[in-house]
Subunit: 256 residues, 2 copies
Amino acid sequence: MAQLTLTALPNIPLIQPGDDLCAIVLKSLAEAGVQLQENDVLIVAQKIVSKAEGRLVRLSDVIPSARALELAEALQKDPRHVEVILQETKEIVRMRPGVIVVEHRLGYVCANAGVDRSNVAPHGAPDDDCLLMLPEAPDRSCAELRRKLREATGVNVGVIVNDSHGRAWRTGTVGVALGAAGVPALLDLRGTPDLFDYPLQVTQVGFADELAAAASLLMGQAAEGRPVIHARGVPYPLREGNAQELIRTKELDLFR
Amino acid sequence: MAQLTLTALPNIPLIQPGDDLCAIVLKSLAEAGVQLQENDVLIVAQKIVSKAEGRLVRLSDVIPSARALELAEALQKDPRHVEVILQETKEIVRMRPGVIVVEHRLGYVCANAGVDRSNVAPHGAPDDDCLLMLPEAPDRSCAELRRKLREATGVNVGVIVNDSHGRAWRTGTVGVALGAAGVPALLDLRGTPDLFDYPLQVTQVGFADELAAAASLLMGQAAEGRPVIHARGVPYPLREGNAQELIRTKELDLFR
């Protein structure tokens, strides 16, 4: 009987710049009585990866450019916040008062280039003076955590860094994979016959996104604070992969 | 320790028009040794709901309109297939050879108005002569299954009908909720403080979509044939809801 079990790892402390996520995850796994197995996947919230990697910017250190000042007025946002968004942005996709949707330098189309004000509080900085950017290279963050976990346990697990993104045509955010290692981000079912041997029309599944969404459900968005989810029973063999597989290039995008 | 367990219900037979999904689900639950509890959710694949509701059209019975003939040439599709898509369509959103993205009469923006050729084989019809449309009213399908399950077991469960949709900016399909009953489709976290009492910026979560994606992962897309998933441990109290909550109206859509 196929079963997928997602467990929120307990007692993950507030993460500070420089923290060793691998050690923290191993400690929590031990407390939860979970022994890693091949084909397990760990899904880690972007926020704690960004924090551990020190991807914080103090608003008071930001000097907005002329362009940021101009856009900030149209957007009704803090110009320093807009400046940091622009620094993480390849191209602005849509803009309305209060909303800026961009192509992030890593290729994701998302709101505010993933630059967030909530849930941020590094050592000593007041809450409302800081912004948190996405990890420098989330696929690399995943690969590093995967490597360290293998070194510590001898087990190959998949690792996903997830975040919540809005969608073009649907309300609400859903979890998506920003980074992945050791999991197929996109599952290619091209040519797989269906129950009646009729070739499947829908051929590529956003596997890591579906797992990211499942984990997001359990993480909660607010005070619950469950930033690491352990998944067991993933019904596909794991393989190498990265979240860049999930990015639709501008040339193939019908909606820009 | 928060845990979400998804179980693919075993031995679901091939569904035929007129089949009683409630009886089939109850039989499978019994075989799996699962006793329904309050706050459990059942996620049911659109395909079997559509089949049970007889939402099949025989291609040989379809007479394409002039418009379908014209579009079929541009789309390089069977004009009869295009005709059925148009009958389910409120508005064409984008069109390229091989691809038609529409606003479905129920409001979803999706490829081919959800009209699918794969996995369809009603009594006596050859596989490649049939199309399957989305359920007439998926929220109603969910509400009915929920009501019947409550009558049979005394337990209030949530029900979601899911399907796989493409995304504007990301490759691969992910599971989304076409219908829902007894679950919050959209979870409104507006005003919920985060760990540092900073009001959350991202305020609405596509809860039923995240659960639909999780289930989709376990369903597989092809020969596995696991069309009903039981979810236990959903970390929010269930309430009334419907999947129309998840539809962004055209007026609020920045991408049409």
